[in-house]
């Protein structure tokens, strides 16, 4: 296996996630797309770490996994709050603030 294969996979995942964040209107799917982007970063870090024998990349990946969990926890709470108040998970309906 070469390093490039992992990097291309990560780049593809990252772009898929970015597309999902921009195109999806359902709050939960947007959160899942963000997870894809963060996991692309993890693949990058672990691949670099494995190929250069530098363990700090894997430590970085562990921190990202932990913090991503905290972020998604907060994110789901916010989406749930909006669902309660607006009775819809559609993010396009959240548009009171403009200017």
């Amino acid at each position: 296996m070469q390093l490039n294969e992992f990097l291309i996979l990560a780049a593809f995942l990252f772009c898929t996630g970015a597309y999902g964040v921009l195109a999806r209107r359902n709050g939960v799917l947007v959160l899942m797309s963000i997870e894809l982007m963060l996991n692309a970063v993890n693949i990058n870090l672990v691949a670099f770490s494995a190929f250069t024998k530098n363990v700090s990349g894997q430590i970085f990946a562990l921190f990202i996994i932990t913090i991503a969990a905290a972020e998604v926890g907060v994110g789901l709470a916010i989406v749930l709050l909006i669902y309660r108040n607006l009775h819809s998970p559609d993010l396009d309906e959240v548009d009171q603030l403009k200017g």
């Binding site: 990560a10 670099f48 009171q96």
Partner: protein, 485 residues
């Protein structure tokens, strides 16, 4: 084997962490709603004590393989964040107390975010910068949506969350590439790597990392969340976001550029130049047409962020530390001005029950004390001597002249034009305060202002006047920050 850990070095963080736990426990076991607030305020002041003892000691302490460094730079900024956090607490006491909100949790989240800030001023590698940055932002997502049943507050929180997480992902992707190329997460090693010949991929990695930071400091074109979030969030939280949280982003940006990417100037200078020019221009032009005072201050803080980016963008051509000093001095003064302005907005809104600028008409006749201080903050933001804002602008322009290259001078001209544009909307509000007839329906005799709010406004006014007349005080802090410890 026990590794030697220098507990004195992160005593401020320890005191603040203990405070967070104490607030949480106090909130759990007592019905006294004032107790968590008191503990929080005491804890923030308490963590200033080790900052002072470390400053007296004056020694540079490097921990965890250079990932966490306590030097004059980190002490000056830790002190700034703690003072800014304390002023935010002063603003919050009555606002949160009167609003039937969950008080204990509010202070826990605020202090957690503050903890991230004081860690970020010492963070010297990619992992600790990332963790500190997320410690700052994750609690503020919740704080922005504090008014659970208000759909505007929900929206503020949602927009801030989505942009915040997206920007973290982009920033992390950039950082992962930086790690892959430099084979280290410590900034010192990245600095060494950037000194040599770097491939084009390094420029891409730096670009992605800086774009992530641009979201955090709401630089144009990554600013669109800021006005909405600022308007929808509770006003003390907005003050906190626009000062402390934004300054946290700038401190991280300054650290990563100064200690990491600096030698590879071509990869970061053009990006910061464009961000600075766009933030100043678009921020000011958008502020001109706002009718809501909070939105106006939101765009004004985007523009002020552009001014802070100016010395960073020209730093590669400035000899010595003048550019870095300009950034630190600007952050300190901006903090005082903007906290004061938001305190005045909260005070005025208690009387007018509205954030519309038109409702402030004739406010100077009915509430002269608030209006005088409000005018001081606005004129200081506009940069009029003898208020502190002029000195911030002065050090910024001095950095531009030190650089003395064509691109730097062009940026300086853009900054000068923008200072003039900014004067229009700041003075427009002041004109309304003093020269317009009072609007019908504004209460003239209202209950007294809460002590905390008055104290915060008075303190910020004093700082602005003292620093404006005697700028050596902050100039010295700027010098100290970059002395070798």
């Amino acid at each position: 084997m026990n590794p030697h850990v220098d507990f004195h070095a992160f005593a401020p963080e320890i005191v603040l962490t203990v405070t967070i736990v104490a607030v949480l426990i106090a909130d759990l076991f007592t019905d006294d709603s004032k107790l968590p607030a008191r503990i929080a305020a005491l804890g923030v002041l308490g963590s200033l004590v080790p900052v002072l003892t470390l400053a007296v000691d004056g020694q540079t302490r490097s921990l965890f393989g250079g990932a966490f460094v306590v030097d004059p730079f980190s002490l000056v900024l830790t002190g700034f964040f703690l003072v800014a956090g304390y002023v935010t607490l002063l603003l919050s006491f009555d606002y949160i107390g009167e609003g039937d909100y969950y008080q204990g949790e509010f202070y826990v989240l605020l202090l957690t975010s503050l903890l991230g800030m004081i860690v970020i001023s010492s963070a010297r590698d990619l992992i600790s910068i990332f963790v500190a940055l997320e410690t700052i932002t994750i609690p503020t997502f919740v704080l922005a949506g504090w008014r659970k049943h208000d759909t505007k507050s929900n929206e503020a929180s949602l927009k801030y969350f989505l942009i915040g997480v997206l920007s973290s992902a982009v920033m992390l992707y950039g950082m992962s590439l930086v790690f892959g190329l430099a084979n280290s997460t410590v900034l010192v090693d990245i600095h060494k790597y950037a000194s040599g010949h770097t491939p084009a991929l390094f420029a891409v990695a730096v670009f992605l990392t800086l774009v992530g930071f641009a979201f955090k400091v709401s630089a144009v074109p990554f600013h669109f969340w800021a006005p909405d979030t600022y308007e929808g969030a509770p006003t003390p939280v907005t003050a906190f976001l626009s000062v402390a949280s934004k300054a946290g982003g700038f401190v991280a940006l300054l650290t990563i550029v100064r200690l990491g990417f600096f030698p590879s100037g071509n990869s970061w200078q053009p990006i910061l130049w464009v961000l600075a020019a766009a933030s100043m221009t678009l921020g000011n032009l958008a502020a001109l047409r706002q009718t809501n005072i909070v939105r106006m201050l939101a765009y004004s803080s985007i523009a002020q962020g552009g001014f802070i980016l100016v010395p960073l963008a020209v730093a590669g051509d400035v000899r010595g530390n003048a550019a870095w000093q300009a950034v630190v001095i600007y952050i300190l003064i901006y903090g005082a001005m903007n906290l004061g302005a938001f305190a005045a907005v909260i005070a005025a809104a208690r009387r007018t029950r509205s954030a519309e600028i038109s409702r402030l008409a004739g406010f100077g006749r009915t509430n002269p004390a608030i209006a005088v201080m409000f005018s001081v903050f606005l004129f200081s933001l506009a940069g009029i001597p003898p208020l502190a804002g002029w000195f911030a602008k002065f050090v910024m322009f001095r950095a531009v002249f030190d650089a003395n290259t064509t691109v730097a001078v062009v940026l300086g001209v853009i900054a000068a034009v923008n200072s003039v544009i900014a004067f229009f909307y700041y003075s427009g509000v002041v004109r309304r305060l003093w020269f317009d007839e009072p609007a019908a329906g504004v209460e003239l005799s209202s209950p007294r202002l809460p002590v905390g709010l008055s104290a915060a406004m008075g303190l910020m006014t004093a700082v602005i006047l003292v620093v404006g007349v005697y700028p050596q005080f902050f100039a010295r802090l700027g010098e100290i920050a970059f002395q070798r410890g």
